[in-house]
């Protein structure tokens, strides 16, 4: 029985190699998917203005604001960020601005 991982399952494999019943044998494989290319605007943070209140972190629908080991917020993960702008709107210090995303 095949227990291929998501990274090896693509258009080039045959039906015989697909996992039985299309089961997925690993957690969180969606992390391979780039949803950042949906974006037309992107968030930019001014770390000078950021007071690490963390209010922007739980409102992100795309887990794009990583929390570092010391408990501080890190730079945006633009691989997932879809540019919804909720974080910029909730920031009490106007540290996040949304700008046009030039690709």
């Amino acid at each position: 029985m095949s227990n291929l991982k998501a990274k090896d399952i693509n258009e080039t494999i045959t039906w015989k190699e697909i996992t039985l019943g299309c089961s997925v044998f690993e957690g969180g494989s969606a992390e391979l998917v780039n949803t950042g290319d949906w974006r037309t605007i992107k968030p930019v943070i001014d770390m000078e203005k950021c007071k690490q209140c963390m209010l922007c972190v739980p409102v992100c629908p795309d887990m794009s604001i990583p929390v570092e080991e010391d408990g501080r917020r890190g730079e945006f993960n633009l691989f997932f960020c879809k540019g919804c702008g909720i974080c910029a709107k909730v920031c009490p210090f106007d540290a996040i601005t949304m700008i046009k995303d030039e690709k």
Binding site: A6, I9, A30, C60, P61, V67, K89
Partner: protein
């Protein structure tokens, strides 16, 4: 232990990016917050009714869930998770499983208020040790914004279109939270996203760790269906709570507790004008709709205050 956002956020994320929910969607925010309420050492089995969440978070071969995930059909998330919970109990009794597992089902309002209702009702009545979380976005968003029994009165949807014939949805919203209270389960709560997420996080933790069946109703706005700009999510939920359209409360062993009382109860108009689905209500000649809505909200709010012993 008192709630601390910074400490909560240090926990490992159990729902990953790379899911295909729309930009600004409320449902992944509900999911990650509920899963964050799990103790990090505990494992979970998650089940989802067919929904936006299900089709977008679990597209073969990608899963956005780090925990075990099972999807069965639209109508039976309650039955599916209760079956898994029963199997776990049997294995645990025979000593074949050591870890602590928690059982969480997610459903949209379509899969909860309507299609999955009998299955949910059965699971609650049988008292499985589980939590059913409804992320309520007030219509069938996945298939193109059709009205559900959760859609508010007068809302414009594709199957209750505003025009010369009807003024939006003709029927009122079903009060599912109270129906779940009537199942006599140990924990029922209604919540949404507010400020530092204290309300929803604490309720999710209580729901998960209360032995027996629990139900959580989370308002999860849909920018596409409700027609507002994506960045306004937290403004919308705050207005829903401050106008008392979506009051925050919990019911523990049948006793009601009010979680939040707005300092000034805002007129329902403030909530309506923030969303395109209600824009017709604010046109000249349609004042009666706003009045009717305000009357309904006031009546439910006063009823709730009485139940909570606040009045």
């Amino acid at each position: 232990m008192s709630y601390n956002l910074k400490e909560e956020l240090k926990k490992e994320e159990r729902f990953t990016g790379g899911h295909r929910m729309c930009a600004g969607c409320g449902s992944p925010i509900a999911v990650r917050t509920v899963l964050r309420a799990l103790n990090p050492e505990d494992k979970a089995v998650v089940c989802s009714a067919t929904s936006c969440l299900e089709v977008s978070s679990f597209m073969y071969p990608f899963t956005a869930w780090k925990d075990s995930f099972i999807h069965n059909a639209f109508e039976n998330a309650g039955a599916t998770i209760s079956g898994v919970e029963t199997a776990y109990k049997a294995l645990k009794k025979r000593g074949k499983i050591d870890d602590t597992y928690k059982f969480i089902a997610f459903g949209g309002d379509g899969g909860t208020y309507d299609i999955g209702f009998q299955s949910l009702s059965g699971a609650m009545e049988r008292g499985h040790d589980m939590v059913y979380v409804c992320y309520d976005n007030e219509a069938y968003m996945n298939t193109g914004i059709q009205r559900s029994s959760s859609t508010p009165h007068f809302a414009d949807t594709t199957t209750s279109p505003v025009g010369a014939v009807i003024p939006g949805k003709l029927q009122k919203k079903k009060d599912l939270t109270k129906i779940m209270v009537a199942h006599n389960v140990p924990y029922v709560a209604q919540t949404t996203f507010m400020g530092n997420f204290k309300d929803i996080s604490e309720k999710a933790h209580k729901a998960i760790y209360t032995p027996g069946a629990a139900f959580l109703n989370v308002m999860a706005p849909c920018p596409r269906g409700w027609r507002y700009e994506t960045e306004e999510l937290m403004t919308i939920t705050k207005l829903a709570v401050d106008t008392c359209v979506w009051p925050l409360y919990e019911v523990i062993d049948g006793k009601y507790f009010l979680s939040y009382k707005p300092k000034t109860k805002l007129p329902v108009e403030d909530y309506l004008k923030a969303q395109g689905r209600f824009s017709h209500m604010l046109k000249p000649g349609n004042e009666w709709m706003v009045e009717k809505m305000q009357e309904e909200v006031n009546r439910h709010w006063i009823d709730l205050l009485v139940l909570c012993g606040e009045k």
